[in-house]
Symmetry: C2
Subunit: 227 residues, 2 copies
């Protein structure tokens, strides 16, 4: 909308596939609603359905045994998810919860299996969804292995801007939550953000951030070393 796909760089490669998928899912799906804060499923649950978000925002996160939280992603309308545990008959790898009131399509495993045999396009679309997911997670992992905290934070802010950005440009996310996104403590996030605020790169409020100087942030997000 605001910029062509070429410019999005490392951003979600899954977008195109998912639009097609939603159309293919509609015939076999029912609808559910979530209130803000409600969980769709928990890490470790049995998987029965594939989902597509119609409206609202969801958060995908995993919890370590020691209680540390890692926020993997934020989902917006049009996104399809839940395929991992559904198709390998395992347990949910992550918890999905609503950041705001949301509505979604659910397609059962049985319905999908049947429909896939009738319609090879669905199988192909699901395959592209799954490999796109693998690529996305793979990128996140390289990011964690190679990039310093400030770089990870800069990248995640730009990504969240794209996913959660409001009309006024603010991003509704607390610094504690941001820490979960970049695998760092709230304190470390707070100190980096305070620094960026002094530099005029971001503006900070209670529970939100606004990117003032996207270009500076983009430069930071490309630089491997520390500032």
């Amino acid at each position: 909308m605001d910029e062509p796909p070429r410019d999005r760089g490392w951003l979600d490669v899954l977008d195109q596939v998912q639009a097609d998928l939603v159309d293919l899912l509609k015939p076999v799906a029912r609808t559910v609603s979530l209130r803000a804060g409600e969980s769709l499923f928990l890490q470790g649950d049995d998987a029965r359905e594939l989902y597509s978000l119609l409206s609202g925002r969801l958060e995908v996160c995993v919890l370590s045994e020691s209680g540390q939280n890692l926020a993997l992603n934020v989902l917006g309308p049009g996104q399809v998810f839940g395929e991992i545990a559904l198709f390998d008959r395992g347990r949910r790898t992550a918890t999905v919860a609503a950041l705001e009131a949301s509505r979604l399509l659910c397609a059962s495993a049985a319905a999908l299996d049947q429909e896939m045999r009738r319609n090879p396009d669905l199988a192909a679309a699901l395959l592209r969804l799954a490999v796109g997911r693998a690529r996305w997670i793979s990128e996140q992992m390289e990011n964690l292995a190679f990039a310093a905290l400030n770089v990870r934070l800069a990248r995640r802010l730009l990504y969240l801007q794209h996913r959660l950005g409001e009309a006024d440009g603010s991003i509704a996310v607390s610094q504690t939550a941001l820490g979960g996104h970049v695998s760092a403590t709230r304190e470390a996030v707070s100190k980096t953000m305070a620094h960026w605020k002094r530099e005029g790169i971001v503006e900070i409020g209670r529970g939100w951030v606004m990117i003032r100087d996207p270009d500076r942030l983009r430069i930071l997000s490309a630089l491997p070393p520390t500032i």
Copy 2:
């Protein structure tokens, strides 16, 4: 062989799917050979084929811009790989190179597309492969985010034992390479290994490791905190 699948815990969940896949691929695949050290493809290459390893060992790794190396996996006979870039028409996310002389099956994208339309089982198997990959990478990422170096190292040693272990129990891997597997420096690996050697947990040689006390290592690999 030596232990039932139940006990393998976090180990590769992809094994079962791949056996089925090899049979499905054979009709549409040709064979290639690699000498030790040769690369099958490089990170960033265009993708044209899906592969299945018939014999030998391969290493999957990515390189950061700053030259840091991350070893994602080691592949053995029967494993199928290369699906990510093939099915999302992107570039290879990683480099794959032969640790020893290897032979493999290659199936072209065109042949696969055609065969998938004829045979829904192939589509289903590829889908399971892709979601299995996503789950595997996801586990690796949680590992990196949550576990300390010694825990990551203990886990990786047990995994490599399973993948690379020779008849005599030794694992042919240098400490520099191990560093790449756990995202740490050679020195850090060396110090931890020296400690474990003094404790009788491992035996160390030039270019190899042997696990002396798998139970101790398994305990270490389960413990979140430092020793």
